[in-house]
């Protein structure tokens, strides 16, 4: 059993690698070769991730993505489609044995979302958890989260909105038949918020606060991936996350 959490500070990968690292560490944790891990990352190029039960063609304008150089990838977790803008958000993953968390789905979301809320608090922003999987600030969603459990391991990843590029978001996500209108943009602005609306911070400060909150009371060390983990992640990129079979499976 690993006594210490591993914390991997803010990294930048493409969407395929980001998803492959999550799966690699989940596999590793299940085999007890990877320690419980907390990681923070960004997406370059910007990408759309869709929930594992969503239809890619229903949710994503694939042609537009190609035009704009935006990747698309299916996650292993359920939930909705997310546009991960390189400058617009920070994503985290928590990967650890299920036994570290309450058995109930909502209760375990509440624990990890509590760490996010604590991080927001350190930045002076008051948020609260709204079941199933959202974090709300001043009545608007600032963070979406998704969870899966496999081989005795819990993986939760989620995104914290820092900035919003609504124009690109609407261009790549299919949002019904309506044309992108000012009204629609306004309606999203009424439902979704970003850190920059509440506090003037840079991404570095946000990461610092999140790391502090996520590691509170934990025995941890700042570390990175092993060679074997990186090898396996690259393998999963080509075996799964970059394949049409996976991404267009629904």
């Amino acid at each position: 059993m690993f006594a210490k959490w591993r914390v991997v500070g803010l990294e930048v990968h493409d969407g395929f690698m980001n998803m492959a690292i999550d799966e690699t560490v989940s596999e590793g944790a299940s085999k007890r070769v990877s320690p419980p891990t907390i990681r923070f990352y960004r997406w370059k190029p910007s990408a759309v991730s869709i929930g594992c039960f969503q239809s890619l063609l229903d949710e994503v304008d694939v042609k537009k993505c190609k035009e704009l150089g935006i990747d698309y990838v299916r996650r292993r977790t359920g939930g909705g489609a997310v546009y991960h803008d390189y400058n617009g958000e920070i994503t985290y993953s928590v990967i650890a044995p299920e036994s570290f968390f309450p058995k109930g789905i909502t209760e375990s979301y509440k624990v990890i979302c509590g760490w996010v809320i604590e991080g927001l608090k350190l930045l002076g922003v008051e948020g609260y958890f709204q079941p199933v999987n959202d974090i709300i600030v001043e009545g608007k969603k600032i963070s979406g989260n998704a969870q899966t459990r496999r081989g005795g391991v819990l993986l939760q990843h989620g995104t914290i909105l820092y900035d919003l590029d609504l124009k690109t978001m609407f261009a790549v996500l299919r949002v019904g038949d309506e044309k992108i209108s000012d009204k629609m943009i306004k309606s999203v602005e009424e439902r979704v918020t970003r850190l920059l609306n509440h506090v003037n911070v840079n991404i570095k400060d946000v990461t610092k606060a999140l790391i502090k909150a996520f590691t509170k009371g934990k025995n941890y060390e700042m570390k990175t991936w092993t060679k074997e983990e990186l090898r396996r992640a690259k393998e999963l990129v080509s075996l799964r996350y970059k394949t049409k079979e996976w991404n267009f499976s629904r």
Binding site: F53, Q54, D58, A81, I105, V132, N133, R149
Partner: protein
């Protein structure tokens, strides 16, 4: 194969791929429901001779373990278009219980409702 034959084959292939359901008289149905405060569930079905041949369930819900969705889809294949909701629900609940699956953001009852609606939609649309 000569080039001409190849092109004929190719065009037929394209046509068939897109319109095969016209040849086989398979009817396609679709329905969706957004649970209030919950998630979106969409169901697509192919119906042939009053029997459901294909089921595709999509949406932004959560289901643990995720693979169970394929088994749920399979459990709905073979359902007759006039089958009662309760009977379908029983089928569904059996799979969920066997696999100790957890549904988040939607319910078995809701799924059956959308499924039935998808099936009815292709009855109404005719051939």
């Amino acid at each position: 194969m000569s080039l001409k034959n190849f092109f004929i084959f190719f065009i037929f292939h394209l046509f068939f791929e897109r319109f095969w359901c016209v040849f086989l008289l398979v009817r396609r149905g679709f329905a969706s429901e957004k649970v209030k405060g919950g998630k979106l569930v969409q169901v697509r079905v192919d119906v042939d001779e009053d029997v459901v041949k294909n089921v595709r369930i999509t949406g932004d819900f959560f289901l643990h373990p995720e693979e169970v969705l394929e088994e749920i889809e399979e459990s709905l294949v073979g359902v007759g278009v006039f089958e009662q909701e309760e009977t379908i629900l029983e089928r569904l609940k059996r799979v969920i219980k066997e696999r100790e699956a957890i549904l988040v953001g939607f319910s078995a009852e809701g799924l059956v409702r959308v499924f039935k609606e998808a099936v009815s939609s292709c009855l109404q649309s005719g051939e």
